[in-house]
Amino acid sequence: MQKALIRLCYRKIIDSSATRPWDKFVFEDSYTEFLMQSQLYNQEKKYTSFGELVMHVPNAEKLHFLVSAAVIGYLQQLHGKIPDLTNNLGKLFLPFKNFRFEIINSDIKDKSKHQVAVNFFTDHLIWHDTINNQLPLSVPGNTENGEILTELFTLPPFVSIYSIKPVD
């Protein structure tokens, strides 16, 4: 097959069932920030859910962006490696700089309804081939003694190929 430059997208959903420390920090701090910032769009306290706010209040969808300020510190703590997704050797390897934070659901009266997603977009990866359900990928510039080092990766749920660009 023809080699291609791809970017993967991983949509990591975090809700009240979160157990890992990083996930819990993101859950707690994004909810606190949502409670604070949503008051700007809910000054008469007419609405309780994020869905109602977005439907009825102009510009309330800016809350995705505004609340993201609460989680950027945690994204920086990942030091540029997408969490959870490992290569076939069980190692984290996917480099990222870009993300998009979204509030899926929330409610100012019911924390258990708070659910957010961090969409991680990888930097460019070279997709060399497909072996059964696995993709040999490489991170550009990652070489050893003139050989390109590769990573064997199986696409799990909530991971998609975000973009593709054929290369020679």
């Binding site: 890992r20 300020a69 993300f99 998009r100 050893e144």
Partner: protein
């Protein structure tokens, strides 16, 4: 508080050295002995958990919102600007309100806010996306201070700064705006005048909406007008203003 310092200190306190990039992990990492896969460390019964095969980390530390900063310039440039905002409590004989959280946000020299781009992708280096927004906690004098650039203006609005004041537990006390003094010698006229072009303020005052015509300030400018905005283009301007809330 400087976020970077917070992180650095936080990591130092945990005794963590910088974690080497994992790119060459295969040839370098010799400490992995477990054959467990994945990074899940929460499974297992009793008080022990299986050692994970991937070196866990970086260990997350509590991280304040990136809004929490005094210098809110981000990657924006313009005439230096300091905002000193005092919060006082109407319910306590107008005494200083300490411990209140104060969010401010304003547009850049060209009139753009940082939420432009809506929900599109952003980078972990947030300064190009989250600029001219900040949060500080009032001190014993009820004072918060922000370092920024002088706000520009955009069609249909006079120059202004948005302010949202919360009590210490995050409950909204007041959403308001600060208006700027006008007149030929005012900071607004000077920054947007010929001298300001050196600093990138190229809009001039043609088409500017004055406070009297501004649909936010026209009926309230008397108590929303900054007490003073003084300084110079080269030395920067300092805004001082007092906001009264019921806390």
């Amino acid at each position: 508080m400087e976020r970077k310092h917070f992180l650095k200190n936080g990591l130092a306190a945990l005794g963590l050295a910088a974690i080497a990039p994992l790119a060459n992990a295969c040839k370098k990492d010799t400490s992995d002995s477990s054959s467990d896969s994945g990074t899940d460390s929460s499974s297992g019964s009793g008080s022990c958990t299986a050692t994970s095969s991937e070196t866990e980390g970086p260990f997350p530390t509590k991280s304040p919102s990136t809004l929490v900063k005094s210098d809110i310039k981000g990657d924006r440039t313009g005439v230096a600007f300091t905002a000193k905002i005092y919060i006082k409590n109407k319910n306590n004989s107008c005494a200083a309100l300490s411990g209140a959280l104060v969010d401010i946000w304003h547009c850049d020299k060209d009139g753009y806010y940082s939420e432009y781009g809506g929900t599109s992708m952003q980078t972990v280096d947030y300064t190009a996306v989250h600029f001219l927004r900040g949060r500080q906690t009032t001190d014993s004098d009820g004072l918060v201070t922000f370092t920024s650039i002088f706000p520009g203006w955009y069609t249909s609005r006079a120059t202004h700064i948005h302010v949202h004041i919360y009590n210490s537990s995050g409950t909204s006390l007041l959403v308001t705006q600060i208006a700027f003094p006008e007149g030929s010698d005012s900071a607004v006229a000077t920054v947007n005048g010929s001298g300001g072009t050196t600093y990138g303020y190229n809009k001039g005052m043609t088409g500017y909406t004055y406070n009297a015509s501004d649909n936010v300030f026209s009926d309230s400018v008397s108590n929303e007008l900054a007490s003073s905005v003084s300084g110079s283009l080269s030395g920067g301007y300092t805004l001082t203003h007092t906001i009264y809330v019921s806390a």
